[in-house]
Every structure is written in structure tokens, then in C-alpha cells.
């Protein structure tokens, strides 16, 4: 590898002095004179029909500027991947007819101080008629389960199919040729991004009719485009400022603060700040998805995996958000860094009446890597090989084809295995030390 100049040097961080002196400006540090604070009223029910939303007492509370409900949202659909074809719309920005999870936003109280907004939020009255909730992905797919989606299934529909499929080779034929069939079931429950900085934005109406939106989004243009769609304004009326974020981990790719705060700012003509509480961050921000995965692998006595069949159920919670994409990413990566000639995957994006899931560091791949790598040790155990050997034997090489028909071109699994063995002083047989990722030739 060619030696370069400044690339490859551990120069200090450009924002380092700002960080260590507390002078880096985060979104919550942006403040304007005359700024209002927003507090959200959220659903206490996991699923139900909204019969009445009465904001009158909150509106009359001293210091309250306005209360924003679905009636104020020009295009009350929050479908953030609509620009890449994820449809149909399924999530309102503010709940209108029904609630689908405990914590779903219903009404935003906007007041002179955060304390007043909090006090007044307790005066918003919402009548909800409960409906049976679906809590589990297996339950959601079982016959007779309550159908919680308007299109008539509890799954996302991929080009008319209820699952994302991978079909490569002939798994049934390979299972018949296998010496061992090794099964495993795996589960990952939702966890939080838990950045130290909660979701926040400040929206300021400008004299020229534009809105300046200070945001800690991970994706400024993406947030701008989605906000413009919801506000039904051309995107040139929005000016996003950000770029400095107190930890993201995927949780700030949701566009959950900007549209409502912008509506509040337009409605009042004043700057508005919305900073989520930590309880909201835990109970109302997107989580990682829950996953249940069932693996069946066909393996030869020499340790070669010749077939993998996987059924994976992703618990997306109540709405799409980024989940349909995560399932695709999951499907594309669950053969791991190995060559497997026959792969069959059915991966479902399943809806439940749970806090919506979305992207989180390792989106869709983390559960796949977890299941596939524990599965590797099970295989090693069954065929009587050690955990190092099973990985060398199956390691993919440059030039081979993955189940998704993509040629492997940057493989280095073998090299990391060799380096890790050296790091922990684990002796490797000569045949594994002699391997490298470019030693495969097409027959």
C-alpha cells in the first residue's frame, strides 16, 4: 500500500478543543429571543380508536401559545422512505383516527417555557377506545390475528410478496446431499440508540417567509425533503442547519422533530424549540428492531456449508419507518463472509403495536451476523471441527459469487482470522496460514 502524506496520520480532531472546553455548539445550544417550547402529548394505549381530542383547557392555560394537532398538518403522512418507493403511507405525523402504539404523538403543546408546556400538556384530554393489540411477530402472522394494517396483512408487501426473498442454487437438493442438518433459532430484542444528546430541533420563521431549521438530524437534505412534503411547501422555503450531532447511531435518521416544530413555528410566527425528554428518547424514539431468526444449514462432514435456509421475522413495531429496508439489508448479508452455494431466505417485515423500530448501528446486519456466527460454532461443534477451522474452510474468496449474485471483491476474512489468531497466540495449522483471500480460481 502506497504511503501517503496527511491521510494515514492521527491528526487531532478539528472539533476537539470545542468539545473539551464545552464550546461546541449543539442544537440545544441554539436559542432565540421570544422562543417557545414544545411538549408532546402521547398515546397511553397500544392500540385504539381516537374518539375525541380536546385541547381547549390546554389552550386556555396561561402561557400557552397554541396546540398543534393533526388538523394543522398539511400532509399528515410520515413515510420517510416514500422517495425510494416504500409505500403505502402508514404513519400519521400526529394521530388522527387511531393510535397504534403506546407513545404515539397526538398533540403538541407550545408555550412560553418548557415548564408551562409540560403543565399544559397534562390538560389535553384524549378519549381512546381500545382495540386488541398485537405484541409479537409470531402472533401477528398467526391465523385469526387482529390485522392492524389497512392493506390487509401484518407484513410489509415487497412487490406483492409478504417477504423479502433470496433464492440461490437449490437448497433442497443440497440438504439431501448434506451429511448434517444443523438448526438454530435466534432472537434479538429491541435496544436503544441512547445517544447522550436527545432528539432536538429549533425552528425560526424568517422575515422572507422561509424557515430556518436547526436540527441534529444525521441527514440534512433527507430531513428537509421529508419536512417539505409534510408541510406541503417547496423545499426552497426550508433552510437546514446542523452537522454537529451528540451521537446518532441511526436514531437521528428519523424525521420526528422537524415537521411538528415547523408547523408550530408557522402557526405562531415565533421560534420554537422541541427537545425530547430522556423518557421520550427511551419510550418514543425508534428502537432497533426485534428479530426472530430460524436457521437450517446443510453441512458436509469436512465442514463445508452447502446450504442455508433462513426464515427471519423482523418486529418493525407499528410503522414502516426504515424497517422494510433493514429487512432487505438483513437478507443480503446473512450468509456472512462465507461461500455458501445454496441459499434460501424468507425475511418478513412484521408490524406489531410496539414503539416503531428503525435503523440502529449495524441495521439489519447485526442480528444476521449474530445468528450466523453462533450458527458457525454450532456447525463446528456438530462436525467436530474447532471454531477457527470451520471459518477458514468456509471463508469466501475474491471472485466468488454471493447469494445475491454479487461478486466478492474486497474479501479479507482469512487475513483477519490469521491476524486474530496471532493476536491471541492461537496456533494455526500450516494449511490455514497458507490461505489468502485471492487464492480462488474459477473452475
Amino acid at each position: 500500500m502506497k504511503q501517503l502524506g496527511i491521510v494515514g496520520q492521527s491528526v487531532r480532531r478539528r472539533d476537539g478543543i470545542g468539545h473539551v472546553t464545552g464550546q461546541t455548539q449543539f442544537v440545544d445550544d441554539v436559542t432565540y429571543p421570544n422562543m417557545l417550547w414544545l411538549r408532546m402529548v402521547r398515546s397511553p394505549a397500544a392500540r385504539g380508536l381516537i374518539r375525541r381530542i380536546d385541547t381547549s383547557r390546554a389552550e386556555a392555560y396561561p402561557g400557552v401559545a397554541t396546540v398543534v394537532t393533526w388538523k394543522d398538518v398539511p400532509n399528515n403522512w410520515y413515510t420517510i422512505l416514500c422517495l425510494i418507493g416504500v409505500e403505502p403511507n402508514d404513519e400519521p405525523v400526529l394521530a388522527q383516527e387511531e393510535v397504534m402504539w403506546q407513545g404515539e404523538p397526538i398533540a403538541a403543546v407550545v408555550a412560553e417555557t418548557e415548564t408551562i408546556a409540560r403543565e399544559a400538556a397534562a390538560l389535553v384530554r384524549v378519549d381512546i377506545e381500545p382495540l386488541p393489540a398485537v405484541r409479537d411477530v409470531f402472533e401477528a402472522l398467526a391465523p385469526g390475528a387482529p390485522i392492524i394494517k389497512k392493506w390487509g396483512t401484518n407484513t410489509f408487501m415487497y412487490e406483492g410478496m409478504p417477504m423479502r426473498r433470496v433464492r440461490f442454487g437449490d437448497v433442497d437438493k443440497a440438504f439431501a446431499e448434506a451429511d448434517h442438518i444443523i438448526e438454530g433459532s435466534y432472537q434479538v430484542t429491541p435496544y436503544e440508540h441512547a445517544p447522550l444528546e436527545t432528539q432536538a430541533c429549533v425552528v425560526k420563521p424568517e422575515p422572507d417567509g422561509r424557515l430556518t431549521i436547526h436540527s441534529n438530524t444525521q441527514a440534512l437534505y433527507f430531513t428537509m425533503d421529508n419536512t417539505a412534503i409534510i408541510l406541503k411547501v417547496p423545499s426552497h422555503r426550508l433552510h437546514m442547519i446542523g452537522g454537529t450531532v451528540g451521537g446518532g447511531f441511526g436514531g437521528k435518521v428519523d424525521v420526528v422533530t422537524e415537521p411538528v416544530t415547523a408547523i408550530a413555528a408557522m402557526k405562531t410566527g415565533r421560534p420554537v424549540k422541541w427537545r425530547w425528554t430522556r423518557a421520550e428518547e427511551f419510550q418514543a424514539s425508534s428502537t432497533s428492531g426485534g428479530w426472530r431468526m430460524e436457521y437450517t444449514d446443510g453441512v458436509k462432514n469436512d465442514g463445508r456449508i452447502i446450504a442455508r435456509k433462513v426464515r427471519a421475522l423482523h418486529d418493525a413495531g407499528a410503522y414502516h419507518r426504515h424497517s422494510p429496508y433493514g429487512v432487505t439489508k438483513h437478507s443480503a448479508n446473512l450468509q456472512g463472509p462465507y461461500y455458501i452455494p445454496n441459499v434460501w431466505v424468507d425475511a418478513y417485515c412484521v408490524y406489531t403495536n410496539r414503539q416503531p423500530a428503525s435503523a440502529l448501528r449495524g441495521f439489519g446486519v447485526t442480528p444476521a451476523s449474530f445468528a450466523a456466527e453462533v450458527q458457525m460454532d454450532r456447525i463446528a461443534n456438530t462436525v467436530g471441527l474447532d471454531p477457527w477451522a470451520i471459518r477458514f474452510i468456509n471463508a469466501y474468496r475474491n471472485g466468488q459469487t454471493k447469494a445475491i449474485r454479487k461478486k466478492v471483491e474486497d474479501a479479507t476474512l482469512i487475513e483477519t482470522l490469521q491476524a486474530a489468531a496471532k493476536l491471541v497466540n492461537h496456533p494455526l495449522p500450516e494449511k490455514f496460514l497458507a490461505m489468502h483471500s485471492n487464492d480462488w480460481k474459477e473452475a
Binding site: 408532546m40 402521547r42 397511553p44 403543565e119 400538556a121 397534562a122 384530554r125 377506545e129
Partner: protein, 304 residues
């Protein structure tokens, strides 16, 4: 349209209730915060306002509840300037002012059980703010110092305007978030008598430091010169509605040497009698199991 019953017909909190996203009560603006400069003034205020006043020791629990809208007290009284802090030793008794910080308590050399327990509460900043008496009012799985105080036969000095009474700590807890305190009473001091025997404090949390308890155990065993247990205290945290002593387990030790058999008997008694709660940290089943393991471990520490 469905015509079933309307279950949720209530005012909804914008923030949280006990850290939750819904609130049972309505928001009311706080009208006054009292910061009495003496215990007498504090008791005067309490006699005037009684249970309407929300009492804060260090505020580490109260301020969080207020900030999340879980409680909206019209009146608040902070005791932080009421001169109720300080530690005094008289005749072997340790008299600890109600608002003495847990950091101060953690520095006490004797009894080591109490200092160790105080060090297990929260992080450093929380211990600088949280008070010893306040620790009697925090619901499980918090309240480690209270567990040690139970094992030390501590007494609560409760005052109201014009009178003072002493409540043995073992009789202080009446239920979850319920105590023997009358509405006009205030904990002003906690007395720890000189105690005999050997003690041990163990806490099992889901992380190594700054953690609520899966289970907390404070044990103290008094033995005669033949090694027979003449008296024992086994107190547990996170094992029920409040910090509690497991008297059946204590009884199982009396008149016996501290050996594997008696220890197993005591642990089994403890497991049999506790009624722990399940929560985000541990299930009821697991807590019960850990009560057995940790009572056994604490007694083995003492035995060794």
C-alpha cells in the same frame, strides 16, 4: 365503528409519570418552594401545610419526578438548609442528621457496613446530593443505605411541632412508598446504636457500579466465644415493597454455629419469605434466586 367501552378517557401528561409517558394527574403550577433555615421553621411549615407539601431532601428523586411531570406539587419544602445535617457520636451511638449526604456517610469509618452501603448508591454526584433520610423514602430497587441501617438496628427520630418520637427502623416501613410517619412529622435524625458482631454488605446489580439492585443484602451476626450465633440481622433490598429484615432467616441462625448447614437454612428461609417485584432489571423469579445466593454469600463472608 366499534362501540365498546372507552378505557382511556383521561388527561394525558406530556412528559412522564414516574418516568413514564403518561401521567395520571393534571399539571398544577408550583406556588411556593420553602427553604427553611432551621428545623423549627421546617416543622412550623409542616404543621401548617401537612401532606400538601412535597418534601425534598437532596432532590435527587423529587426533582426528576417534577421535571418529568410525574408529580406537580403545589408546595415544596427543601430541607437542604434546615441544619439537619451532621454526624455526632455519643456513648457509642451514632447520630446522623437527616440531611447528611451519602458522601459524608460513605466516609464514616465505623460502622463499616453503613459506609459501604452508602458508597453503593448512585454515582459520586448523586451521593453528594442525596441524603441519608431520603434514602428511607426511595422505593426499591433503590435504597441501599436503608438496608444497612436495618441491619444495624437504626432508629428514626421523627419530629413534629412540639414533639419528638423514636421509631425503630424495622417498624418504619409500612408498604410500598408508605411509612409510619404522620403527615406532620419529619425525619430529623437517624440514630445508629453501637452494634456487636461481624457484618457484611453485598449488592448485586446489572452493572458493576452506579446501579439499582437486583438484590442488596446487609447482614450482621453476633457470636459467643464458642462460635454460637446469639443474634443475627439479615436485611434485604429489592426483595419486597421496601427494605426489610428476614426474621425467619435470622432465627435460623440463632443458637447455631455459622456453617454451611445453618447458612443454607437461613438462605432458604430468606428465599421462602421474600416477595420481590419483577422490573426492567430482574424478574421476580430471578430476584428470589439471588436472595438465596446473596444471603448465603454474605453469611459465608461473615463466617470466614
Amino acid at each position: 365503528m366499534h362501540n365498546g367501552p372507552i378505557l382511556w378517557s383521561m388527561s394525558l401528561g406530556g412528559g412522564a409519570s414516574g418516568g413514564r409517558l403518561r401521567s395520571a394527574g393534571e399539571g398544577v403550577a408550583t406556588q411556593e418552594i420553602f427553604i427553611p433555615e432551621s428545623s423549627e421553621t421546617a416543622l412550623d411549615l409542616l404543621s401548617q401545610h401537612g401532606s400538601d407539601v412535597f418534601i425534598m431532601g437532596g432532590g435527587t428523586v423529587g426533582m426528576a419526578l417534577i421535571g418529568e411531570g410525574a408529580v406537580s406539587p403545589p408546595l415544596i419544602m427543601s430541607l437542604s438548609r434546615a441544619k439537619l445535617n451532621g454526624v455526632r457520636r455519643t456513648d457509642g451511638r451514632l447520630e446522623i442528621g437527616a440531611t447528611t449526604s451519602l458522601s459524608r456517610v460513605a466516609q464514616l469509618i465505623d460502622p463499616p457496613l453503613l459506609a459501604t452501603a452508602a458508597r453503593h448508591v448512585g454515582g459520586w454526584a448523586i451521593r453528594n446530593m442525596a441524603t441519608l433520610a431520603g434514602n428511607l423514602f426511595v422505593p426499591p430497587p433503590a435504597g441501599d443505605a436503608a438496608v444497612a441501617l436495618l441491619a444495624l438496628d437504626a432508629e428514626v427520630v421523627a419530629a413534629s411541632k412540639g414533639s419528638t418520637r423514636v421509631i425503630p427502623l424495622a417498624q418504619f416501613f409500612k408498604g410500598r412508598a408508605q411509612t409510619a410517619l404522620a403527615p406532620h412529622e419529619l425525619v430529623v435524625r437517624i440514630d445508629v446504636p453501637r452494634s456487636a458482631g461481624t457484618s457484611a454488605f453485598l449488592k448485586f446489580g446489572r452493572r458493576l457500579m452506579n446501579t439499582p439492585a437486583v438484590v442488596t443484602v446487609a447482614a450482621r451476626v453476633v457470636r459467643d466465644d464458642r462460635g454460637m450465633c446469639t443474634d443475627a440481622r439479615i436485611a434485604l433490598g429489592a426483595a419486597g415493597d421496601h427494605p426489610l429484615r428476614v426474621m425467619q432467616a435470622e432465627a435460623a441462625l440463632r443458637g447455631r454455629t455459622l456453617d454451611s448447614t445453618s447458612i443454607e437454612d437461613a438462605a432458604a428461609e430468606a428465599v421462602r419469605t421474600v416477595r420481590p417485584h419483577g422490573d426492567a432489571l430482574a424478574s421476580e423469579w430471578f430476584r428470589r434466586r439471588m436472595v438465596g445466593v446473596y444471603v448465603r454469600r454474605a453469611l459465608h463472608l461473615i463466617g470466614g
